[in-house]
Symmetry: D3
Subunit: 137 residues, 6 copies
């Protein structure tokens, strides 16, 4: 059992805001993250898959395939976008690091597990100081 | 003559868009950066000042003073904000890395040059792959 | 179950030295780390907590709360300090990366587990080449 | 139980190529990595060991010992070398990140487990975007 | 006058070797870098251009154009290649960091100076510890 | 004219303190940096030299020579030491980043300028956020 990880980058904007709360309550809970016009980040996403090494190729899985899945299922939909307004799979979900991480797992789990490996972990780094990890359970 | 640099971080959203151009022209020139709802970045700002070292303190200038000026004149106005909608000093200026860098120089030049040092360079890093530098001329 | 991590920085000095050993024995075991006047590091501390995401806020826990606990229980006591002379909770404990990591766990475990999450891991990076991790058991 | 990690660097060249495949098949599977004269990387290797902290020294294990084992068993044989042509322990094994990682585990497992700690993980970073991890099973 | 920089990555192999010298002399001067089968690096290349900001677009120059020139004139020819065997523009030139840096300048100077900006600096980072810079004179 | 840079690391402790000032004045000026038992940092030092490339070796200067000079003249005296108590060449000089940078220049200028290159810049990074540069004038 070996684990390999592919890191990709994207940038996006978001704001943290609960519709049914007052401006004050939002500010109290989310601070500057609730500013009405939003802000943004350079995100790094780490996709870790696990499985057996193919004895012929020496690959668990060709990382170009993983990279293309990340591109097609994720980056295509969120890179240079606004999480609150533009991203179908985040509709109705507040775009915290935790929630984005879990939704990325849900988008990638199917396509990756059809390959010769299993999705093991999604790690999403929002700033140099904050990141989330999700293992699917 | 010695040079010292203070690095600070902020995150903000922006879009690159020329009002009087068509959607197509904007997309042709700015690509994904013209997406209507914007996107964002973790920016790093490097402020370099120069001058003589004070023989008593061994400081060119106490970097806490520089840090506070950056906080008060810049970060207070742009951190967790949208460059197109929220930032007074960027009004009417398209928020490219080049333009933000030059406007930050203009905001900091006065207050820093009143101290015992001179502003030497503003460097603004927008992504791991792109940055701008401005030396005031 | 999701994991989120907050990274903080501090700088401190220390030396590695066993009182009852000779200078030579200390040098043999600890090398330059036993130099009598000590040396220091820029440390990075990573605090990982785990738990369920709150469906309202989208947060496992507001990272500002974690950041404040790290500030109050840890950084307040060790930042810009000497581990051998200034730090109450390291009294009588040789300040290796391993020991500092474990003592930080002990200080943070109580206050964090009172929140809506559990402490999962303390990682302490001493240099670009060395770090320790502790999971509480 | 505490975990400590030592990171080391080396640079090496390799190519990914299955002898019995045609040039075309190799290019289809390995892309530019199959270029006939090879290419190379700055690799980072992270060796994580686990065990109990010695109450006298405060060390799980002196990292200089781990560093020396990595030097003698691994770096000596691969640093500034070509994985396909120069490295005894990679003979007949295609030098993917996965395979190198596993073979490094096999070389280090014996000597490290003779010490007061156990080998826990080998992580090998090939580029800023790709790395593999192996836990020995 | 503003300066903008685009960073790109590539990986390549090389060896440092003067044909007319003995094996011993080569080893004395170049050390492990003269190993007969070569080794390799992950290189980072920083291309800095300077000029006036276009008041319409806010760009000195669209960095995608710079990125494409780097791709076409440089990366296409050196990425995943061997500097001693595969690279036309390094023929007869020993592939030290200094020489590669200068030859990259020579390849890019023409195409960049035809744009609305001037090439200012090529910086080539070979390892975390070594880099060269060339300003064209 | 080409520029090459060698980066090295060291760790050391220091405190910022003017003997003839009161405790209060020291705290007012230097803040936590004046704590009586000191603190420390992982420093990075960048030594940049300039000159002509040797057409035979392709080197401006063999970086191993620069590395050894840094080792012998600087690191030997400051690595794992206390700047206030242990370092001959800092005697009577308050160990700010500015002053350490300038004294390192003074120690290296002679030996480097005897080689086939000239010392161009010393850059000293004290924390991720602060660094100084000195060009000798």
């Amino acid at each position: 059992m070996i684990y390999i990880t592919r890191k990709e980058h994207f940038c996006a904007s978001h704001k943290l805001y609960v519709q049914e709360w007052s401006e004050e309550k939002n500010r109290e809970i989310f601070g500057k993250c609730s500013n009405p016009n939003g802000h943004g980040h350079n995100y790094s996403i780490y996709v870790t898959v696990k499985g057996e090494v193919d004895s012929k190729t020496g690959f668990l899985i060709n990382l170009k395939i993983i990279s293309k899945l990340i591109q097609d299922y994720i980056l295509e939909k969120i890179d240079h976008k606004d999480f609150n307004l533009d991203v179908e799979f985040m509709k109705g979900i507040i775009p915290t690091t935790e929630n984005i991480t879990r939704e990325i797992w849900r988008k990638l789990e199917g396509p990756i597990n059809e390959l010769s490996c299993q999705l093991h972990c999604i790690k999403l780094q929002e700033t140099e100081k904050n990141y989330a990890e999700y293992y699917g359970e």
